[in-house]
């Protein structure tokens, strides 16, 4: 493994190093910038938690809004998306394929277009327009396909079809089969889908910027606001808050992928 073929290409090695620096350096600079007294002066100005404190008092609520919104999206994706994934995996009809195509459209079409459509259709419904429910429906249709696609692939597994058949022949009713046999068997995929939905909702900006009102601001909306109006140290500290919210979910996702990844979906509990 150590000698021969691609393993000796200095060009690939150099590009990998360069790309790694290009990707990681801005994150480190941003973290450091949120913790120093003065960004232009740098580390010499000393470290402080003052900016984080300021961000938390000014924008702290946006973090909770985003987390609640993302959890609501996860709940919606599980309740609405998992049955839909099952139906897609079990029906071969042309209509089902067309439906699968349709529900991924909100991902294929820019968020800006979806947001404009929602505003045109429901902008007059004042209470709805000014509530978090308005932001939520945008996030919900955008994140749903990720759950559906992930879980449908697991449901389509041959072992599961056989298992379901066995449960049916033993006299299990649909609800019993679905909740007692199928859902536990695809749980890793549901969790993976849930984490995907969570991170997508937490980071969503394109839709949210159009859909939000001053009272329904999310973390990325607050970030954009601070980038435009506050000093760089505050923007950086706020970015640090975002990292704190999104990175645990991301690491959990990667851990799950390596934990469940190499094996196929297991049909047994």
């Amino acid at each position: 493994m150590t000698e021969g073929s691609v393993r000796r290409s200095p060009a690939l090695f150099a590009i990998t190093i360069a790309v790694s620096v290009f990707t990681v350096a801005p994150m480190l600079v941003s973290v450091a910038a949120g913790l120093v007294e003065n960004y232009s002066v740098g580390a010499r100005s000393g470290y402080t938690l003052r900016w984080l404190d300021e961000v938390w008092s000014q924008y702290g609520s946006t973090a909770w809004h985003s987390i609640a919104l993302a959890l609501a999206c996860v709940a919606c994706a599980v309740v609405v998306g998992v049955p839909c994934a099952y139906a897609l995996a079990r029906s071969r009809s042309r209509a089902a394929r067309a439906f699968e195509e349709l529900i991924t459209l909100p991902v294929a079409v820019p968020g800006l277009a979806t947001a404009l459509a929602l505003i045109l259709a429901y902008g007059e419904w004042r209470d709805f327009r000014q509530s978090f429910a308005f932001v939520f429906v945008g996030h919900a249709v955008f994140t749903l396909p990720f759950m559906v696609r992930t879980v449908a692939a697991a449901f389509a597994h041959d072992d599961l079809v056989a298992l379901e058949e066995a449960a049916r022949s033993l006299g299990a009713g649909f609800v019993q089969r679905f909740l007692g046999v199928l859902v536990p068997a695809v749980l890793p995929s549901i969790v993976a889908g849930a984490l995907m939905v969570f991170t997508l909702s937490i980071g969503e900006f394109n839709l949210t910027w159009m859909l939000h009102t001053p009272l329904t601001r999310t973390l990325p909306v607050g970030l954009a606001d601070s980038y435009a109006s506050a000093r760089l140290e505050i923007g950086s500290a706020y970015t640090l808050v975002f990292f704190g919210v999104v990175l645990p979910a991301l690491w959990l996702m990667q851990w799950l992928a390596t934990f469940f990844g190499p094996r196929p979906v297991r049909a047994t509990r």
């Binding site: 590009i15 801005p26 839909c84 459209l105 459509a117 900006f205």
Partner: protein, 264 residues
Amino acid sequence: MIAACFAPAAALFAAFWLLPMARLVALPATRGAATYFAVLLEPRYLQSLVQTVALALAVTAASLVLGAAVGLYLGRRRFAGRRLLLAALTMPLAFPGVIVGFFVILIGGRQGPFAALTDELLGTRLTFAYGLFGLFIAYVYFSLPRTIVAFTAAAEAMGEELEDAARSLGASGRWIARDVWLPALAPTAGAAGAILFATAMGAFGTAFTLSSRYEVLPITIYNEFTNYANFALAASLSIALGVITWLALFIARRFGPAEVGAAA
């Protein structure tokens, strides 16, 4: 039972995407059928479209080349910290576009290290954050992780027998790259390239944060809607943009299986 399982998703999708979108698609007609082609007929919008396509193509090309190199390296080598490096390289996938824009301002803006460096060396504070180059760098930043993921997986799947055989027959590195790597990675490049292009076309947050002098179509749409309350035109332009990104992703699926994602 199958129908009952479809029902909630169908209801959600119909109420909050399909019907609103039908309304959006119908809106330009109120100002005459020509409104649908505003993006081609009006020079201002056409320029914005051409600029966006040019940027998206350049970003896609650069990201594919760099991502393929990194993917080949990471996919075919095992070393301590490889998984950690891969995790770090894919982290930007979870960042909203606004953060990527902010990174460019931090590095290449008026108070950034680049300005400080040029001040030191040349005596003037140069910035690159607010023009085309800053936009390009930012778009490459959020595009690279996608290509790295795709090419790493493709390189892992690529057998080494062919390459070893070529090498034992005396093929040089350049020939191996052309005759072994290129055909093996082409489907990945096609699929990933289309996703990158679609993502770059529709990206809004990054351009919004940089408030670049180089105007891209999503910004044009946003301005029409918010600053000029020109709803029919905003609708027309977003339909045009949606058709382009959807087509790109449709073509992507022709190349082979790919992830659904196109979010930035």
